[in-house]
Amino acid sequence: MKVAFVVQRYGLEINGGAELHCRWVAEHMQKYVQTEVLTTRAFDYITWKNHYPQSEEVINGIPVKRFSVDRSRNPERFGQIQSFILENEHREEDEMRWLEEEGPLSSSLIEYIKEHQADYDYFIFFSYRYFHSYWGISAVPHKSILVPTAEHDPVVHLRIFKDLFRKPQAFIYNSVEERKMINSLSRNETILGDVVGVGTEVPSSYSGERFRRKRGLTGDYIIYVGRIDENKGCHKLFEYFLKFKKETGLAVKLLLVGSTILKIPSHVDILHPGFLSEEDKFDAIDGALLLMMPSFYESLSMVTLEAWAMKKPVLANATCEVLKGQCLRSNGGLFYENYEEFKEALNLLLSSEELRQALGENGLKYYNENYTWEIIENKYLKILNELEGRK
């Protein structure tokens, strides 16, 4: 069986989101099926500018075919179109124009899928909202499987996606909440699907002490890992954390790990060592009291799973239904909707080591029961086998 993984970007340098999700799944599935990756030459997710050479290469044993992006994205124009369609009565043509602007606009990738569909048994598309998924699935609906990685953001309600969600042969969801949302939007319950998610790679050894020594860090800290961005709720995290510090006077610090596109407030207890290596990242999580997850929109949150895999509790934004649902299902973290809840929950977590430990253990149990690679691989294989059985 030959399976193509179709994703907007692909590379070892891309270390988060659906792209990393796709790479990990593809690398784990190559044990069972012949895998190939079809992607674009883009690296920058804002402009989709061609970055990689147009050639075939092999990354961690998987052949990767890259196709040119016809036109880079103009963020300003995209913003205008998006505002228009989200705030005004509009036609389907406008949504198609939005999709073109959303990109990455690679007609050669779609042409390739159309022309070479006979060479593959299945195409697994990642991220519903991009050009490649919409037109790729439309070209080969009978062979397509969609991993939507959908969040509860307004674009999921666009009309074009209602139809798109009825086309694939199967769905691989990241969470129960994502499945419910897509089912209720498009009434596609009859299409084969399962809540799978993604596993994570936690190194066999990590040390918070090593990180403290290396960075000269003293005292307790809580950690945020991910893009430091308004979309990830970081502005609220800063606001709440500073207010919390002012009101309680606790000596806890906030450590931020990840690239930033948001101005970080200048405060002695907000630390930003910049982008860390994988080893340092896991060491930093190990040294933290808990993981902060302030994001409003998440379809799964891989870093939350990593924290649970390391027995760390989580304090998450309850506005994001997926994070709240994951905390409730795992009993591995608390959540907040406003500052009062943030203060109470954080205060409770900081004051009780026993609670942190109990939540961390629950998190690890939940991770082991649902997100080990063996479980993820088996769920993918089950879906592929079920589709094969229908032929």
């Binding site: 009101e247 905390c327 009993n331 959540f335 809840e341 409770l348 609670l355």
Partner: protein
């Protein structure tokens, strides 16, 4: 946790956690309830504190002393009688002591009861006054909340109406705009459709005329053919009738010739017979 200098860490006993079986939903419920409780308590704390009125019961009254009776005619007689009876006073006291003591005790108790009643009365007045003040404060607070709510409701109502009007106006404008666009589009479609129908109709008529003309020619030709065929059939019938008559004649002639031939055969045999005799 390290401590700087402000609040104590919230070692909160109000949140009960079963560490053996953590239930996040339950913890979050407790947190929400705690916050709600704090919110409701906060306004009460902000209310002006009322000065507590120190109130204690009056000291227990000393044993009442018998006040000297006012002197009048009665008093004077009483005084004289007392003087006369003074020598018998010890005997009198001896006789009347238990009754006197009991009487005095009753008087003292009655006095105490009176004082206690007065104290309770005063206490009740104070409590009633306090209750009335509290009711007044409560009413004022209710009025304040009511005013605030009314103001807020008025504001919300006003802004909602404004927004509804605004949205309504925008919607009407948009509907008009869409209506105009749809009408323009319908006019255009109608016009182009009529033009196309006319064009197709004209072409169809021309084609029908052409076909009609050709059909007429073919029809005339066919009529001619039919006439010719009719004549031919008629002639054939006549010819066939003639041939039939001729056939009958020939058959008759053949029978005559046959008879002649039989006669001649018999004649020949008779002649041969005669000849060879």
């Amino acid at each position: 946790m390290e401590k700087e200098n402000k609040e104590e860490i919230n070692k909160d006993d109000s949140i009960k956690i079963d560490y053996e079986k953590i239930d996040v939903a339950d913890i979050m419920d407790q947190i929400k309830k705690k916050i709600a409780k704090k919110r409701t308590e906060a306004p009460a704390e902000q209310a002006p504190s009322e000065s507590p009125v120190p109130f204690s019961p009056p000291p227990f009254p000393p044993e009442p002393e018998m006040e000297p009776q006012a002197l009048g005619l009665k008093g004077k007689i009483k005084k004289i009688l007392l003087k006369i009876m003074k020598p018998f006073a010890p005997a009198q006291k001896l006789l009347a002591l238990p009754v006197h003591q009991e009487l005095m005790e009753t008087v003292r108790k009655l006095h105490q009861t009176n004082q206690r009643l007065e104290y309770l009365n005063a206490r009740m007045d104070y409590e009633l006054r306090k209750l009335s003040e509290n009711i007044g404060i409560g009413e004022k607070r209710l009025d304040l909340v009511n005013d605030t709510l009314n103001t807020r409701l008025d504001y919300v109502s006003k802004t909602t109406h404004e927004r509804i009007d605004e949205v309504g106006e925008k919607t009407h404008l948009r509907i008009d705009e869409v209506n105009d666009t749809v009408n323009a589009r319908l006019d255009y479609v109608s016009k182009t459709t009529h033009e196309r129908i006319d064009e197709v109709s004209e072409k169809t008529h021309l084609r029908i005329d052409d076909v009609n003309e050709k059909a007429n020619i073919r029809y005339d030709r066919a009529l001619e053919y039919i006439k010719l065929l009719h004549n031919l059939s008629h002639n054939l019938v006549v010819e066939l009738s003639k041939l039939r008559i001729e056939e009958e004649n020939l058959k008759l002639k053949a029978r005559i010739i046959e008879k002649d031939f039989e006669f001649l055969s018999r004649k020949e045999k008779a002649l041969e017979k005669e000849f060879f005799k």
